[in-house]
Amino acid sequence: MPPPRARFSLAASVLIVALLLAACTGAAAPTAIPPTSPPPTDVSPADLTGRLTVLDWAGYDAEDFWVDFKSTYPKVNVSFETGASDADIYARMKAGDQADIFHPYTGWLQFYVDEGLVKEIDTSQLKNWDKVPDHFKAIGQINGKQYFIPWDWGFTSILYRTDKVPEGIDSWAALLDPKFAGHISMWDDGPGAVTVSSYLHGYDEAAITSEQLAAIKTEWTAQRDLNLFYWAGEPELVEGMKSGDIWVAYAWQGAYALLLGEGVPVAYANPKEGRNSWVGVYGIRKGTENYDLALKFLDAKLAEATGNNVVNLFYYGHSNQDVMSGISDETLKQAFSIDDPNILQKTNFTPNLTVEQRDAWTAMWAEIKAGP
C-alpha cells in the first residue's frame, strides 16, 4: 500500500525550510560577542582580559607573528580564522564574518572601504606608528583616511636559475620569451598578468582601456604555450625551480630567499621596467566591539620582535623601518636589496583595483585558461 501524501510532505518541508531562512535573514542581529575588557586605563596590560578574532592567511596564526602582543597581554584570548585568498577574505567579510581584524593585500583595499566593512584607525593610539615610513603609511590610506595599517611587504620580480640562464635577465619580457619555452612559470593571477604587460608596454595600470586589455589577452594566450604551469602558492614554485623544471618565474622574494638558502643557483632580476611591490595590511572591522583591543593588537604587530619573525621566517619585509635596517643576514640583504637605497624608488607599487577592473581582468585570465 503506497504511503500517502509523500509529495505533499516533500513540498511542505521545503516550504518550512524556506520560511525559516527568510525569517532568519530578515532580522539578522549580530551574534553576541562576549563583553570587552574594561577601559585600558584602569587595568595593567598583564591583567587585561578579553578576546579577539583575527581573519588571517594560513600560517599567520603562529605565535611568532604576534609575539609582542602575546607577551604584553598574556591574558587576552586570540583566535584565528583562515582565509585562503584575498577574494576569500573579502567574501567572508561581506558575508558578515565577526572577526575583529583582517589582513588583505594591496589591490583589494578600495573594496572594503566602498562596502563599508572597515573602520578608520586612530593612529594616535599606535606607539609604533612613527617607525613606519611615510610611503607605507600612504598605502593604508584610502580616500584620505587611514583605514589600514601596513604590515608585511615584498617585491615581485623575475626569479631565474643562473645555471640555466647564464646571460641573466633584465626585463619582464623574459616571462614571454620563446627562448625559455616549457620552463616558465607565471603566477596564476589575471591582475598579475595585466601588471606585467603594463610595465612592458608602458600602459597606465590604473586606466587600462579595452583595446589594451585585448592586446594583453592575446599576448598571454600566446604565453600559455611557453608556460609549464601556473603557480598558485610559493611551495609549488620552489619545488619547480629546485627540480629544474622551471628556469624563469614571476616570483616574490620569499621564494628567492628560500632557494638561496638551500643552495640552489638563483638570482632575482632587477628589470629595467622596475620591480613590483605589494603590501599586506591589517584593518579593523566596522562594528567590532573590541576596537581598543584591536588597536593594541595592531600596535603590537608593528613591534620589533614580531617584525623580525616576519623577516626571518617568511622572508617578507616588515613595515617597521627599524626592523628592516636591522637585517644582518646576507641572504636576506640580497633578497631585499637592502644595499640599494634607491630600490623603492624604482619599484612600482600595486594600485587598488576597481570592481570593473577586477571583474574584467579576472574574466580575461579565465578565458585564457579556458581557451583551446
Binding site: 608556460n227 598558485a232 570592481v355 579565465a366 585558461k369
Partner: protein, 308 residues
C-alpha cells in the same frame, strides 16, 4: 529454523486480519522514520544552499550586502553564452570524465571480482588495504609522484642513467594526459566498491548451475556474472563520472598551463575573482548539463527496473 523467524509471543494469538493491519501500520510508520531524516537533512543543508546559489546566478554583481533582495538579471548567463571557450571546456571536461569513468570502472572490475570470489575470508582486509592510502593527504601523495616523475626525479634519473633516453621525459607531468591518468588511478579503489557490493549478492548456486550446464568460465562470466553485477557497474560509473566533470584539484596539481578543466574556472571565479554571480551561473550550467547527461543515460538503461 533460526530464532529471527519465530513470531514474537504477543502476536501469536492474533487473527489474520488484525495482523495484516498491524504490519501495514508498522510499514507506514517505518516509512516515515526512513523518509523524514534524509529529507529534512537534504532540504536544509543541500537544497537551501543550492537555491541560494541559484539565486546568486541571477545577481548582477557583488556590490552591497550579500544577503539582500536583488532584481534578477540574466546577464551572467548571457556573458557565459558569449564566451565559447567555457562551453568548449565544459564539453572537454565531460568527455574526459567519460573516459576516466569508463576506464576506472573497467580497471576496477577485476579488483572487485578478486575481492568477491578469490579473496575468500580475507576480502574485508584486502578491501580496507585499498582504501587506507586515501587517508594520507592527497596533496602529499601527488607531491611524492611529482618528485618521482619530475625532470630530475627518480624515473627520469634512472632512464637517463641506463641510457634509454637522452633528455628527461617532460610529457609525464603538466598536461591533460597526466590529469586523466592520475584521476583513473585515484578512482579505481572507489569504483570497485559498488561493483563489489553487487557481486557479493550473486548466489553462488548460479555458478554451480552454469558449470553443470557445461558453461566455460568465460561464458559464465558473460552470461551470469556480468549481467547480475550491472547495477554495481552502473552505480560505479555514475559515482565516478559525475564528480569528475567538476574536478579541479588534480588539474591544478598536475595539469600544467593547458590542464585547466571546467571546475578550475568555477573555482577561480569564487576564490580569485570574488565573482559569485558568474561562478554560480557557471555551476548551474554544469549542473544542468550533467543532469541532462545522466537523465539520457538513465533512459538508455532502465534504472528503475534494475533497482526494483
Amino acid at each position: 529454523m533460526d530464532s529471527p523467524l519465530l513470531p514474537a509471543p504477543r502476536q501469536r494469538c492474533r487473527g489474520a486480519g488484525e495482523q495484516e493491519r498491524t504490519v501495514l501500520f508498522d510499514r507506514r510508520a517505518t516509512f516515515w522514520i526512513l523518509y523524514l531524516p534524509p529529507l529534512l537533512w537534504l532540504g536544509l543543508f543541500f537544497i537551501a544552499p543550492l537555491v541560494l546559489m541559484a539565486a546568486f546566478s541571477f545577481r548582477a554583481d557583488m556590490r552591497g550586502a550579500l544577503l539582500q533582495w536583488w532584481t534578477p538579471t540574466l546577464q551572467q548567463y548571457a556573458a557565459m553564452l558569449e564566451t565559447p571557450g567555457y562551453w568548449r571546456l565544459l564539453g572537454i571536461s565531460a568527455v574526459l570524465a567519460l573516459i576516466i569513468a569508463t576506464s576506472a570502472v573497467a580497471l576496477a572490475y577485476p579488483v572487485a571480482y578478486f575481492l568477491a570470489f578469490r579473496a575468500g575470508r580475507r576480502a574485508g582486509f584486502y578491501l580496507v588495504l585499498l582504501l587506507v592510502p586515501f587517508w594520507t593527504s592527497y596533496l602529499l601523495r601527488v607531491m611524492a609522484w611529482k618528485i618521482m616523475l619530475g625532470s630530475e626525479g627518480v624515473l627520469n634519473s634512472f632512464l637517463l642513467y641506463t641510457g634509454l633516453i637522452r633528455e628527461p621525459l617532460g610529457a609525464l607531468l603538466y598536461n591533460r594526459t597526466a590529469v586523466v591518468i592520475t584521476l583513473i588511478y585515484v578512482w579505481i579503489p572507489f569504483a570497485a566498491l559498488p561493483i563489489l557490493a553487487a557481486l557479493q549478492r550473486i548466489d553462488l548456486a548460479l555458478f554451480e548451475a552454469a558449470f553443470d550446464l557445461g558453461a566455460t568460465p568465460l561464458r559464465r562470466f558473460l552470461r551470469v556474472t556480468l549481467p547480475l553485477s550491472l547495477p554495481g557497474v552502473l552505480a560505479a560509473f555514475f559515482m565516478v563520472f559525475i564528480p569528475t566533470v567538476g574536478e579541479y584539484v588534480t588539474p591544478l596539481l598536475v595539469g600544467g598551463s593547458r590542464g585547466s578543466l571546467y571546475g578550475n574556472i568555477i573555482q577561480d571565479f569564487f576564490t580569485k575573482a570574488a565573482n559569485w554571480p558568474f561562478g554560480s551561473a557557471l555551476s548551474m550550467v554544469m549542473l544542468a548539463a550533467t543532469l541532462l547527461l545522466v537523465a539520457l543515460a538513465a533512459r538508455l538503461v532502465d534504472v528503475r527496473r534494475l533497482i526494483e
